[in-house]
């Protein structure tokens, strides 16, 4: 079925298709439309779910943890400052191994306060133990949320997932959307029957109990890490199954390679700027420049091998960071550099800080970046507009 939907609507559609049983929410620009859409469906009787608003994002995640601990399928959404307020409970959700799925509509962080999109909020949560997927368009938002439920509820993983879409650029922009049939989604996802997280009066259970000795704490943290690394395998399987069922291909689900096989220069992007970057790659290919693009789709767990294999052999790697850790620079650049440490031929990695506070990226900007990088043998840092 063809639809015209904003990013917010596609995420809401995905929650409805997945038959999320509990949705605690708190509104925040640019995510508000998402929960308004769900609220409208619930009011009209189109969506049978436990939908409620609470007093803050900290409470949203606490409610989500409580609901998921009973064995329900839980969905929620937030953005920027809201995600930071959730921070404490994010660690609890992942530590208790509760497969909550959350959509984050990325927005820059205060101060100075902004409403426009950059990736600071999302990338700041890399240590929270969640699985993090970064979508590039509205179709991928819908598909990623469906896949996220499947990956999170897999027994080899059992970790919460965060699906990120860029505020405004995706969240408020209508794009053509292919909506899968409810019947197909039901068979794809199946029912969620947890064996570790359920609250029943006749079988009392403590979840996430106090572990006061370092040995068991180390054990549980190790299990958490292994579960996250297992997700690298599960994601590939789920993407393959998704392609079989719905026909849309996300490759291995970890990274997307675009014209990288013979490329001398590879751009590294994530999120919605990748679509502009792809257009610039097409333009530069017309001018006989061997340019390719690597899109980081999964941020946590970090697909080190896939990144290395895609990038080794290129002369220049240009990392576009739509985020900033002041005092360090972009957050993706160190990861890319670390992944390339054991490469056969190490390329020169040049760092570009772009699109902060929703600064728009253009094809010209990417072409300018390539010109800069070609004349830089040492891999500098550039701020572009």
């Amino acid at each position: 079925m063809e639809h015209l939907a904003t990013g917010n609507e596609s995420a809401a559609l995905a929650a409805r298709l997945a038959r999320a049983q509990c949705i605690p929410v708190y509104p925040i620009t640019p995510q508000t439309e998402l929960i308004e859409t769900i609220a409208k469906w619930v009011a009209n009787g189109d969506f049978d779910t436990e939908f409620f608003t609470v007093d803050s994002e900290h409470s949203v995640m606490s409610a989500a943890v409580g609901a998921s601990a009973t064995g329900a399928r839980v969905f929620t959404a937030t953005s920027s400052q809201g995600l930071l307020l959730m921070n404490e409970v994010l660690y609890i959700a992942s530590g208790m191994r509760l497969p909550i799925v959350m959509v984050n509509v990325s927005r820059g962080l205060s101060a100075p306060i902004t409403l426009w999109s950059d990736h600071d909020d999302f990338l700041n949560q890399r240590g929270a133990g969640w699985l993090q997927v970064h979508a590039q368009n509205n179709q991928e938002v819908l598909d990623s949320v469906l896949m996220a439920f499947k990956i999170s509820e897999d027994r080899r993983v059992l970790l919460p997932s965060m699906v990120n879409m860029d505020g405004y650029v995706l969240s408020y922009t209508k794009e053509p959307l292919t909506v899968p049939k409810q019947k197909d989604v039901d068979t794809f996802l199946g029912k969620y029957h947890p064996k570790h997280a359920y609250f029943k009066p006749d079988k009392p259970l403590v979840q996430g109990p106090a572990v006061l000795r370092p040995e068991p704490y180390t054990y549980f943290r190790n299990q958490h890490h292994q579960a996250s690394m297992n997700a690298l395998i599960v994601m590939r399987e789920v993407c393959k199954e998704f392609k079989k069922k719905f026909g849309r291909d996300y490759g291995n689900g970890l990274v997307e390679e675009y014209m990288t096989e013979d490329a001398d220069i590879i751009l590294v992007t994530q999120g919605s700027i990748s679509t502009t970057a792809k257009a610039s790659v097409n333009e530069m290919r017309k001018k006989k420049k061997k340019v390719g693009l690597l899109r980081l789709r999964t941020i946590t767990p970090w697909p080190e091998r896939q990144v290395r294999e895609a990038l080794e052999g290129a002369r220049h790697v240009l990392v576009f960071d739509k985020n900033l850790a002041p005092g360090r620079g972009g957050m993706a650049t160190p990861e890319i550099k670390a992944s390339l440490y054991n490469a056969r031929v190490e390329p020169v990695v040049t760092e570009f800080i772009v699109g902060l506070g929703g600064n728009p990226e253009s094809i010209k900007m990417f072409e300018h970046a390539v010109r800069l990088a070609e004349h830089d043998a040492h891999g500098g840092v550039y701020w572009l507009e």
Binding site: R97, R155, A197, L205, V206, P209, Q223, A227
Partner: protein, 94 residues
Amino acid sequence: MSKVLKYSYDFEKGVPVMPANASARKNKTGTWRIWKPEINYDKCVKCKICFTLCPHGAISWKGKPVIDYTFCKGCLICADNCPVKAINFEREVK
């Protein structure tokens, strides 16, 4: 001596969950009590507020509120919230 830790992934044991075996019933918290609440049934209006608010569930409902002194810690939340001041308390010397 230090050693290299090796764990295999075990989803059954690797999730921090443990059975709760009604441990509150085993822990006789009545010995903690310093203040002892007593209900004056002449004043009691049977509003069930003390029954609802008791954090330990030490007040049971048998047509009227009854305090189980094996578990009552003497926190006096019941006395504090009684609308008709039917719960008196005095210091218990042990």
